[in-house]
Amino acid sequence: MLKKFVITTALALAMSAGAYAETPRKGGTIRFTAPYGSSFANLDIHTSNRAQDEIWAKAIHRSLYKWDANANKPVLDLAKEVKVSEDGLVYTYKLRDDAYFHNGRKMTADDVIWSLTRQMDGAKAYPGARYVRIIKGAVEVEKGQAKEISGLKKIDDLTIEMTLAEKVDPGFNFYQPMLSIYPADEASKDTFATKPIGLGPFKFVEYVPGSRLVAERWEKFYEPGKPYADRITISIMGEAAARDVAFRNKEVDVSILGPTQYVAYKADPELSKGLLEVAEVYTRVMGLNPNFKPFSDKRVRQAINYAIDADLIIKRLVKDKAYRATSWLPISSPAYDKDMKPYPYDPEKAKQLLAEAGYPEGFEFEWTATSNESWGIPIVEAVIPMLEKVGIKVKIKPVEGTVLSEVARSGNYQAFIWSLTSGPDPLTSLKCFHSATPQSACNYTLFKNPEFDKLLDEAAATDDEAKKLENLKKANAILREEVPMWWFNYNKAVMAHQPWLKGLQPNATELAVQNYEDIWVEASSPAK
């Protein structure tokens, strides 16, 4: 398993590295697809935290940092350099002097400060607020007690000083497109909502709601020679089958694949040449509510992990488009323990544990799930006979995504199945299981373990990278032992691309979100 992962990632890196060895061609149109729904929220990226919207935002906007898929960490984008203070709380950024907005104006510190302050508007609800909150003084703005963020100071037109309220790496917060930098003067106008102006490699041209967004090259983009392509069209295509037809018909250049198409494309001699696979930072789990009596007993939770043949489900149902999960942290996480083994399939042991826990005849529970093909009802349907064998009966409660989100945060469930983000930063993602994290934040299973808490607190306080990772590894191991959830799998994202599209990056945070300036189109593309 791990070997397969290493080889796949190495191949992906080699492919993209090899791609850079070729000479990028200037010109052509990138025809991208946005597969996660049938619309974009709107043209104000500050209001949306969805992957679907990041796909268009990356073309038109930029943030302080950007995600480097090859290095697997955030790197500076709109800032040229950064100086960190001794105590790790003060970051001084020297901003780029060659960043121009699409209306021609140069970016200054005012724009950065305005954009970040906007997030803390107490009357509105911007999802980015929780990331800006790490800056000292931001909470006061949110509460309406201050107009400006005291910890965000303008030193001069191209230098800002950011004082943090807690010791974290701001890169992980500020690389997100929802924290893009807007032009302070333009963004408050009404026209901005229909004609966004940003710092990205492409300039907005048109948007047909529910259909597509078109942008053309911004000649004054700060990376010399980039973007390579003349235009980019992003077509909204939520239906996998329709996307498949369009891709085979060469009408689009990329398509995120589901399990079924993965198998078909792998088997096709031509299509299999254009597959980009990446282990994403998502863990699929079955959350078990400790307030439901049987699940309060660790033995029952472990029994469930033993009773389900997850490998078989991954192989036959998910078509190998996932990696078996050992615990919470995914394979690409720096704190992943490659020697840790997943729970084996052992229905006898499961029955034994159940009997020990006082349920020799089994019990019945209600499983809340959405209709998602990779981590929803189809998975539950496959698990039901397996649990039935050890005496556990399941009743499915089908819900929509928004209801799932609500019941998980309010504890109004017995068990749920979901795909949760488990990275890229291991400390932040493990924090979900810290007892201080409320259920409404992300501690959906009310996990409480003092040893776990201690390991995390130490890791947060220390500067020693090695000790930090060691602690996080141990904490992850506790999660495996205590099994607050059934650890199902880590997502393998697969993107099919046409042979004339080069420069795609193996983005582990979200494969569908790419840095378009690095992509180019060969002359063999049918789109001119």
């Binding site: 609800a125 709601p209 329709a242 928004t402 795909s419 409320p438």
Partner: protein
């Protein structure tokens, strides 16, 4: 006639209000809110503070009757409210989708009428013949296929295999993109129209008054042309009017499949996201359109057959 139109317009007002109230009540008891839909992909966690602020910003904290009162007051000034998702006026959001929807609806109905009505007519004039059987079986087949299956089939055949037409999208108004979605959507109304036309024509051909006309000595062809057409048209027109509403509703599935940016997919998306103002607004707009179309149909019917008295 004029008084009839005025009466119908006045009748529409309480209907619109009733629909508004019904939809409002229905969506105020629905589980799930816009705030919780923002984090349904398990990705970026929306923290409780921001969610609470969102609910407050959208006025969802007020008690139901207060919200309804505000809503009615808004409607009185023709203000449909602001979308939760886009933060733009609902009217703008809907206006963007109106033209594609109209195109799809009209194209499908045109396809259905141009083929379905003549088909039903011919079948009725030669009952029991092979034309009758084949057309009716064909019509029934069209009605028996699930739309997304039909749509996928069409996509496969005409776009992928034959390459004659594009497989998805709006195409910025290029009419070629309209063809596949309209056919997929129009097959069902076509079948229904063919069958209804046939049934209506058959029924009327045998009604007493036709026999009376025949016995009066009018020639066969005159009988066919005059009475048949007039009375059958009434029923057919009524059916067409009704089908318009069905088509807009059924369009949802086709719109999702072909990435057609219409009102149907906007509605379903908004329901999924719990963007209540847009849901209410689009349903109201659809209702309004429908009432207008049906009024037109009734007026036409009255003109065609003066015996129908709308007292």
């Amino acid at each position: 006639m004029l008084s009839f139109i005025v009466r119908r317009l006045l009748q529409s007002l309480p209907i619109i209000l009733a629909v508004a109230a019904l939809i409002f009540v229905m969506f105020s008891v629905i589980p799930g809110t816009f705030a919780s839909s923002m984090s349904d992909d398990g990705r970026s966690v929306l923290d409780a503070e921001v969610m609470a602020r969102m609910n407050k910003e959208f006025g969802l904290d007020d008690p139901v009757y207060v919200r309804f009162g505000k809503y009615v007051a808004q409607l009185a000034t023709f203000d449909l409210g602001t979308s939760f998702r886009t933060r733009q006026p609902v009217a703008h959001v809907i206006a963007d989708r109106l033209w594609p929807t109209a195109q799809l609806a009209f194209a499908s109905m045109l396809f259905a009428i141009l083929i379905g009505v003549p088909l039903g007519f011919i079948a009725a004039l030669r009952p029991g013949s092979w034309i009758d059987t084949i057309s009716m079986v064909g019509a029934v087949s069209g009605l028996s296929l699930p739309k997304f299956w039909l749509g996928l089939l069409l996509m496969y055949l005409f776009a992928l295999m034959l390459g004659w037409l594009p497989s998805f999208g709006y195409g910025g108004g290029d009419l070629r993109y309209l063809i596949l979605p309209s056919v997929a959507l129009g097959v069902a109304p076509l079948a229904l129209l063919a069958r209804t036309t046939r049934a209506a024509v058959l029924d009327i051909m045998n009604a007493d008054f036709v026999r009376t006309a025949r016995s009066k000595g009018m020639s066969e062809s005159k009988v066919v042309r005059w009475h048949l057409t007039r009375n059958a048209l009434v029923i057919i027109l009524t059916t067409i009017g009704l089908q318009f509403g069905t088509v807009i509703g059924q369009a949802v599935v086709i719109e999702k499949l072909f990435s057609w940016p219409g009102l149907g997919s906007l509605l379903v998306d908004s329901v999924t996201l719990r963007d209540i103002p847009v849901v209410q607004g689009s349903i109201l707009v659809i209702v309004l359109l429908f009432l207008l179309i049906n009024m037109l149909v009734d007026v036409l019917c009255a003109i065609i057959d003066p015996r129908i008295k709308y007292t």
